[in-house]
């Protein structure tokens, strides 16, 4: 007679909790930028005319293109999430990849924009900039600080999206790990995989020197679709990406359109 032990599989996923944590984190990000927006408001009230004058020097065309790029990327990531929810892994993969490409486009544009400015001697601490009025100095300092911090967030967002891409790209599977102290429970027993009455496979008795047992159950990607936890991960990554987008929606008019 086989020594059979039953083990209860327990899933530790709380999707509502995970999403709640993400929203709280986004709140902190929003407040991080709020500090800069407060500074912007204070300085703009003091130097309204100089802010307007300095804003004429920014390239509205590049700014507009970047706005369109980010808006579209928010669409693609949203489509990606919906696709994954409908178990369409292939479409989701493409959409996430497309989002990353848009993010890259944004950064490349930003790079050319900043280089042009730096080429004209408008960068923090440059003599050319310091010879101007105080309002204009503060405007450009804020411009670099705020778009710089936003650029950093674009970079982080890209990283997160790429990480989720690789998670989605992997073949769906489930892993069961039995490690100390629970391994004691399995010693001297056999593992059996069964479906209904039918036994699929049986392994040898687990000996006393076994430290860890790991069972990987691979799913058929065509039938079983996706790993459920990836959906929430992509959704959270998408939320983060929307935040990056929405902050730009505020930065764009405040720096480019106030002429």
């Amino acid at each position: 007679m086989k020594n059979i032990r039953e083990i209860a599989l327990e899933e530790h996923h709380d999707f509502v909790g995970a999403k709640m944590g993400m929203w709280l984190f986004l709140l902190t990000e929003l407040i991080l930028f709020t500090g800069l927006f407060i500074l912007y408001a204070m300085y703009r009230v003091r130097h309204a005319a100089e802010f307007h004058a300095a804003a004429t020097e920014l390239d509205v065309v590049i700014g507009t293109i970047n706005t369109l790029v980010l808006l579209t990327s928010s669409l693609t990531v949203a489509v990606g999430i919906e696709a994954l929810k409908r178990r369409n892994r292939k479409l989701a993969k493409w959409m996430v990849l497309l989002t990353v490409l848009f993010a890259l486009t944004f950064l490349v544009n930003k790079y050319f924009e900043w280089s042009a400015k730096i080429h004209h001697g408008i960068f923090p601490g440059a003599d050319e900039l310091l010879s101007r009025s105080q309002g204009e100095i503060i405007y450009f300092n804020l411009y670099y600080a705020m778009t710089g911090l936003h650029g950093l967030h674009v970079l982080v967002g890209m990283g997160i999206l790429l990480w989720v891409y690789f998670l989605i790209a992997r073949k769906p599977s489930e892993k069961v790990v039995v490690a100390p102290p629970n391994i004691e429970y399995l010693k001297g027993a056999q593992l059996i995989a069964s479906k209904g009455e039918q036994e699929r496979w049986v392994i040898d008795e687990i000996k006393d020197d076994v430290v860890e047992v790991e069972v990987v159950i691979k799913k058929d990607p065509k039938k079983a679709g996706v790993d459920i936890p990836n959906i929430i991960k992509l959704e959270n990554a998408g939320l983060y990406w929307h935040l990056v987008d929405i902050i730009w929606i505020f930065l764009f008019p405040l720096f480019y359109l106030i002429t």
Binding site: L9, T28, I138, G148, K175, V177, V178
Partner: protein
């Protein structure tokens, strides 16, 4: 790939005995068990506290005589900065939430762990990285920062000391604090046991919940402010530098928008601890449960609207001064509500006098002195007189040390048997208390008096007229320090040699007293079902 954990009912091994994947020290620093993480914080935070307290002793020694004796002015500046940075960012802000909160929040709501155990471990690691970076400044060419813990611009931008690294350390510590707050809010919302409605939660949980919200909402503000100091120093992006059109007063505003609510991050959990201890040792339910719970929230809300009372002499408008002065008085109301309710709980209670209650009552007493001196400073004309004097230093230590740290000690004494399964020697605790209480009042009471006479803070030297007071204060610091050492050694001794403690040595009624001491890995043998309000004393109904 989804990972499953296997749930096997073990014989009730407690969390200290459980053998996981790692052994030795690794079983601690890689553990995602909230109880072990709480102890990690306890050990690291206690270490930083002793370090910063020792720095404080050296500062007092310098004031024992007139003129430079132990150290030069520059060294003194660096020492009070380090004392402040360690005490604020490494000790008192994480203090109660990270140690006692981590350990008891999940148990008190009947959960197995916090909502994000791995994030919890990450918080501790970030905390240690931030601490290491802060201490690293000691060994770099610029040396320790000499700006004071407030890092006021424009001096923090121009000084040659290692401000950038220290500020970056504070930024990382802030990140750690945010993650803890985020974890606690999610835990309270998602992990409560069946029957544990919001109004059946212990008041300690309520206090932590309010604190967690301040951590989430206020900390990013100091995060961005500190980042701006760094970019200003490294990349010359002038935002607060007057030569580039910047305004240093805006720095002060942004800094205090966080740092004033931060004092409520420090004190609210302390109030929570006291709200646990008072009903247990009075053998009756808490008086005014809902009022205490809501007063935590209203302190959190109103405390966020008073920051500019740190800036009454900075040159801001009179109107702003009047508004912030008024709002500051307002915060006293929810605080007083708590104190009155505690006293009303004690009234006609069957009081059992034990060390935790002694420290909790001392905490209320000392905090009241701190609170009243705070109201004095909120009064505009008095503030002008005592601004930047030892009065402020005395007031701050009465609230933070007297209020929070005494409550933290009370909490550690209260839950020590639960955490370790051992009981300490109560006699030595009383001895430690006597030393601490006498030393504390001699030290900080004299500071209040000196400040009232006009002794300015942050000076390494003093005029002859303050000499006697400084000598008294320094002697007080020795008593206080001795008391702390006695306390710490008594507790360390008890960890190894203490007598075995029962599961419920004090007769507590909240969930942590319904499980064994120390608790098992997943806190309860089976998930508890809650049927009463938290402070339901069955035998007291007779």
């Amino acid at each position: 790939m989804a990972s499953h954990a296997i749930d096997v009912q073990n014989a009730q091994e407690n969390y200290l005995e459980v053998k996981g994947r790692w052994s030795g020290i690794l079983s601690w620093i890689f553990s995602t068990d909230h109880k072990r993480i709480g102890i990690l914080y306890l050990v690291s935070i206690a270490f930083f506290f002793i370090v910063a307290a020792t720095i404080g002793i050296f500062m007092r020694l310098e004031q024992l005589t007139m003129g430079p004796t132990l150290m030069k002015p520059e060294v003194y500046n660096r020492l009070f900065t380090l004392h402040g940075v360690i005490m604020i960012f490494l000790f008192i802000i994480p203090g109660i939430p990270a140690i006692l909160g981590n350990f008891f929040l999940p148990i008190q709501i009947g959960a197995k762990d916090v909502a994000f155990p791995r994030l919890n471990l990450l918080s501790w690691w970030l905390f240690m990285i931030g601490a290491t970076l802060a201490i690293l400044t000691l060994f770099l060419p610029g040396g320790l920062p000499d700006t004071g813990w407030t890092f006021y611009a424009p001096y923090s931008i121009r000084t040659g000391s290692e401000v950038s690294l220290a500020v970056f350390a504070a930024f990382i510590l802030g990140f750690s604090s945010i993650l803890t707050g985020l974890n606690f809010v999610t835990t309270v919302h998602r992990m409560r046991a069946p029957g544990m409605s919001f109004f059946r939660m212990p008041l300690f949980v309520w206090a932590l919940y309010a604190t967690a919200w301040i951590q989430i909402l206020a900390t990013p503000m100091v995060g961005i402010t500190l980042l701006l100091i760094i970019v200003e120093r490294l990349l010359n992006i002038g935002i607060f530098d007057p030569t580039q059109g910047g305004d240093p007063i805006l720095y002060q505003h942004l800094f205090w928008i966080y740092s004033h609510p931060a004092v409520y991050i420090m004190i609210l959990p302390g109030f929570g601890v006291i709200s646990e201890i008072i009903p247990t040792f009075s053998r009756r339910t808490i008086f005014g449960y809902k009022l205490i719970a809501f007063s935590s929230l209203s302190i959190a809300i109103f405390g966020s609207l008073v920051w500019a009372h740190h800036m009454f002499v900075s040159g801001q408008s009179d109107l702003a001064n009047i508004i912030f002065s008024f709002l500051t008085f307002f915060v006293a109301i929810p605080t007083a509500i708590k104190v009155f309710n505690w006293v009303a709980t004690l009234y006609k209670g069957s009081i059992r006098f034990e060390p935790p209650l002694l420290f909790a009552l001392s905490s209320i007493f000392l905090f009241s002195i701190g609170g009243f001196t705070g109201l004095m400073q909120a009064t505009l004309p008095i503030n002008v007189h005592i601004h930047d004097t030892y009065f402020v230093v005395g007031h701050f230590h009465y609230t933070m040390f007297g209020g929070t740290i005494w409550a933290l000690i009370a909490g550690i004494l209260y839950w020590f048997p639960k955490i370790t399964g051992k009981m300490y020697n109560k006699k030595w605790i009383y001895v430690a208390w006597a030393f601490m209480f006498i030393g504390f009042n001699t030290l900080y009471g004299t500071m209040l008096y000196m400040g009232w006479k006009g002794m300015p803070r942050r000076y390494y030297d003093h005029l002859p007229e303050f000499h006697t007071d400084h000598v008294i204060a320094t002697v007080g610091s020795w008593f206080l320090y001795t008391g702390i050492l006695i306390l710490v050694s008594t507790l360390i001794y008890a960890v190894y040699r203490g007598t075995k403690a029962d599961a419920n040595p004090w007769g507590g009624t909240t969930l942590e007293w319904k499980t064994s001491s120390p608790p098992p890995l997943e806190n309860f043998e089976k998930e508890p079902v809650v049927e009463h309000e938290p402070y339901y004393h069955e035998e007291a109904i007779r």
